[in-house]
Amino acid sequence: MTDRHALSPAADTLIRVHTYAAFAGLLLSALFGLLVSIKFHAPGFLGGHGWDTWGRLRYDHTQGILYAWLGNAFIAFLYYAVPILTGRTFTSVRLGWLIFWMWNVVAVLGGWSLVLAGSSQPLEWAEFPLVISAVIEASFLLLVLQFALPFWKRGASELYVAGWYLLGSITFTTLAYPIGNLLPNILPGAMGAAFSGLWIHDAVGIFITPLATAIAYFVIPAVTRKPIYSHFYSMIGFWLLFLVYPLNGIHHYVYSALPMSAQHASEVASIYQGIDVIIVVTNLLLTIAVAADGNVLRDIPLRLVWTSMVLYLIVSIQGSIQAVMAFNSFTHFTDWVIGHSHLAMIGFASFAAMGGLAHIWQRLSNVRSSVRLLAWSYWLLVIALAGMVLDLTGVGLVQASLWQQHVPWIESVRASRPYWIIRTADGCLLLAGFIVYGVSFFVGRRHDAAEATAVAAERAPHTSDSFRVDRWISTAFSATFGAGVLFFLLSFTALAILPAIQMHKAIERTTPPGVHLALTPAERHGQQLYARNGCAYCHTEQVRFTPADEWRFGAPTQAWETQDEFPQMWGTRRIGPDLARESGKRTDDWHLAHLYNPRFTVPESMMPSYRWLFNGSADKPTQDALDLVAYLRNLGRPALQASAVRQPEPAGAEMSDHTPASQVSTVLDEGKAVYEANCSGCHGVDGRGHSRGGWVLRPVAFDLAGFRIPPERVWRALTYGVPGTAMPAWNDLPGSQFRAVADYVLSLPDTSPLRPGQQWAPEPALMIAGKRVFDTHCTRCHGINGAGDGPDANRCRRSPANFHQIEVSFAGVSDVVRNGVPGSGMPAWPLLTPSETQAVTLYMRSLYQQPAPPHAIAGSASEPEEGGEQ
């Protein structure tokens, strides 16, 4: 115990309450994170309500870690360190309590509650709603008042580096916070994204990193009782951090519509930042190496701190590499980045905060602490973190690899599932480590008051007794700090304001005439729902300028397309596919079925259910659900209007030389697997279209087992989708899978003739009866010749079936007669007897592959549908 001080009772109390709040924040935020992790592989877990949906818990997880845990831990450290570093006490005890209540009750508890209630903004590290952002900004201003004044009174001369970091952090964060939280709500789309990008990085680089580094510069000399290796280079590291870090932000939006000069600048700055971290960490580790002493290294708070510094080095170099565009095009949006952020926020920031808190706790009087439990928590956390980061890095590489290949998106979800389960196990271990850490503060040996010595805050300020400080040297440091603020503002000018001006001009120049950009009130409401429920945290809304993105999603997102987005929802992670080109891909009822239960339409989906947007079933959506679908329908519509969307080369185009391979059982097995993974959600495992997902669609999913359609129509439907139905294009299937599933679909219909014992009458009699039924009930739509060209055909929502091209089965027709084809115009015919149904089926089968009238062929050739209304 080297720096044990009998703190003033007020400081002591404020340290304790912020420490308790930090523990509560850590445990609750980690619990939010664990729930989020579980939902990746068990999407139904705790589902069915708005408050516990994945997106809202995700928002509370990250905001909780930032403000409830790290914020409180750092404030507790400020109350301990600032008096020691400045020789002066903080400004006011009353102000301290005001900050405590504002920070914890209004900002944290208020923010969490509002997010769970559905009020938030879809901005990374800025998820709390604007009203809470205002409270947090006010709290930062009060923190400046509370802690910057002692520095101001003390002066810059011979201020220790930890003081510079503390002062820099609260000053620069106060400047950066409103820029990242407010401006994206004022500036649209791409222009707002430039500011969001800066804040994403500043939240970590300006708020978290300096405070964590200050703890290291404080704790290491305090425990080792040795001065740091080089104070000069520690200051070089400090200036580089504050001057260069703000230039990094745009690297979150590389390959986007932001000006390329800004993207390149962020790339260079990111590499430069890596050099800075090497200087800082080398300096700190050399301090420990010089003071190497077995007893010292067994100090658990110090162990936490130096571990955090080692991980700081690793995560910073990793970050620099990630910013390199070639590497970024591969790993961005994958779980690799999530592994990186967990390494930063747990391995670096949290370990430093935990070390700092444990260090000061051991120096408070009349408290308990258990070194043994602290050591246990250290090892639990190190093991859990290593497992989690390795796991997420591995799955990130798997996802990146699959996204580069021409395989359906769901393949990456399926491949990720085992990794996500391991991540949850690691998360449980992390939570256990945090609990043990917290408990270590309440058990063990009690420190009595006699152990406390002098009060740091009561000490006389350090007047240099052995050195006379040249005024010009201290002035140089102060001037550099002023220059730092100036450069900080310049960074916003260079990386946000100037790009925004450039983009504004580009948007005016490139917006195609006549496109409809404004959202309707319903779409606007849907956009708000999309934002509040965290949809943008799984589905990006930006197609990047990379070959893989362009192939999979279409034309890259242009800045002009985003000019009606307040705030932008480009996103930083893809768990589901990008939705920027969603317009026209799927029908509303597909979206509704998917929202109600994603497994209805995509059997292996891990998307959460949004049942609370429905009145009990998928076909009873609330107005919220309809508005949300209206917004989804709008995504990419302006680009479609401008004909800016380049259709990817369909995989089916290469199928013209297709040879049916139904005889090859291995192909059918593969086709069955592809079908079950991608098609069974709507068409059902048996192909009858009676699945829960397929039956809520309008028209209902096609009965693939009851009706045989020609191979070319199957290929066309797979390649382009079927307009007017929920059938999407499947041209992202690899060629072999495309062929296999086409063959499997062609093998599904059972159109075998009736056996003699099954017939109600001899075939000639049935045929006569069947024609009579057909002429009576069917010709108005299907035409006299059954070619789908009856007089009422044009009034049907879907083109009536052409029985010259579709071979019907007895089971299929029987089902249609009984139920109709909801959503197509084909009604049920409940008054037809079984014999009449059999007869009309036999008649329709007799038409199959007979020459159709020329006008019917011409008409049907333009129909890209699977089989009309059946």
Binding site: T2, D3, I84, L85, G87, E158, L159, Y160, V161, A162, P221, A222, R225, K226, P227, I228, Y229, S230, H231, F232, Y233, M235, I236, W239, L240, L243, V244, L247, S261, A262, H264, A265, V268, A269, Y272, L286, V290, T453, A454, A456, R459, H462, S464, F467, V469, D470, I473, T480, A483, F487, L490, S491, T493, A494, L495, L498
Partner: protein
């Protein structure tokens, strides 16, 4: 503009590095805060040790120790 900002930042910091290289006084005073910090924690280095370290920054002493 970004290139200018990064260049100016580097130049300013390089000036500090050069200044420290040529000025013994600057070198000493740059290291002074770390000793004052230790003193504020109640760690008083022996006068001779502190004097030596002040005259010769720790990293230089460490370097010569190994050379």
């Amino acid at each position: 503009m970004i290139a200018w900002i990064i260049g100016i930042i580097t130049l300013i910091l390089l000036l500090f590095v050069i200044w420290r290289k040529v000025s013994k006084s600057f070198r000493d005073r740059c290291e002074q805060p770390k000793y004052l910090f230790l003193e504020s924690l109640g760690v008083r280095l022996p006068k001779d040790q502190r004097s030596t370290q002040t005259q010769c920054p720790q990293e230089e002493k460490h370097g010569s120790h190994h050379s």
